[in-house]
Amino acid sequence: MAEVLFFIAAIGAVAGAVGTVSLRNPFYAVLALVCHLLALAALFLLLRAEFVAAAQVVVYAGAVMVLYVFVVAYVGGSGEPLTASTGATLRFASILFALALFVELTIALVGTSLSALDSDGAAYEAGFGTPAEVGELFLTRFLVAFELASLLLLIAAVGAVILARRRTGLPEAGEISVGDVMRGDGTLQEGQTGTMIEAAGSRRR
């Protein structure tokens, strides 16, 4: 049973990965990744990592990907232009490299004499992978990592705000109304970048 579930989840993960890489429309790529993340959560459950699986679904698939969706919607990018630029050669070479890397890693894994890899692993203890266990470890052994992670999040938040703010020197944003938003025709006046008028886009779409 476990093997069956494993194979389903693995195939789902790989399919999602392939989809992320090959789908043209970035929106579809995001959705493929969400699929991949859910499959991966299943794999985590099989590995008795309950909390990690939950975090994967809630945080990664739930929050991070939603952020992605918003940005994709904002930025657009309806596909990639088909100009050659570094084109075929690089594509071929990169697939080759990736393949080479995979082969290498497989050889490393399969050909190695690490005995643990072929065994069934350690015995299962109760409480392995539970939220209680995770919480206790975070506040005792991994306290420093916990604190640093929160600091990192703070920095990232501040950084993101600074990166995406409006530049000084650009004209001031004026008051806008819903009517302006509804009347928006795709072209932007001076003070309309960064406002809902820009986000809503043109009526005629």
């Binding site: 093997e3 693995a10 790989v14 990965a17 992320t20 890489v21 970035p26 790529a29 995001v30 990744l33 991949h36 991966l40 985590f44 590995l47 990592a49 990690v52 975090a55 994967q56 945080v59 990664y60 991070v64 952020l67 992605y68 940005v71 930025v75 990018g77 990639e80 690089l90 594509r91 697939i95 490299f97 990736a98 393949l99 890397l101 995979f102 497989t106 894994l109 399969v110 890899l117 072929d118 065994s119 069934d120 692993g121 350690a122 992978g129 266990e133 995770v134 470890l137 990592a145 992670a149 990192l152 999040l153 990232a156 950084g159 993101a160 705000v161 990166l163 995406a164 409006r166 970048t193």
Partner: protein, 99 residues
Amino acid sequence: MPLTWYLVVSALIFCIGAGGVLVRRNPLVILLCIELMLNAANLALVGFSRAHGNMDGQMFALIVMVVAACEVAIGLGLIVALFRRRLPIDVDELRELSG
């Protein structure tokens, strides 16, 4: 089941992500492929954690997730900034940092 299978899956996903970084031109998708690679690493970590019976791998994986989240925030912020300045959202066009 044997750990090897999980590790092979992890390696596969990692290589797919690496290939994707090299092949795609939209920076958003490149970021997504980077996420793939991170997830592959997570899978390997959790697999080893289970094999050893030690929670360390899972904790590491959680922290990796935090880092991934931060990186996504900043990366997307960059792309939004690019978009605001009406620059093309294409890594082949953005090559001013050349020697």
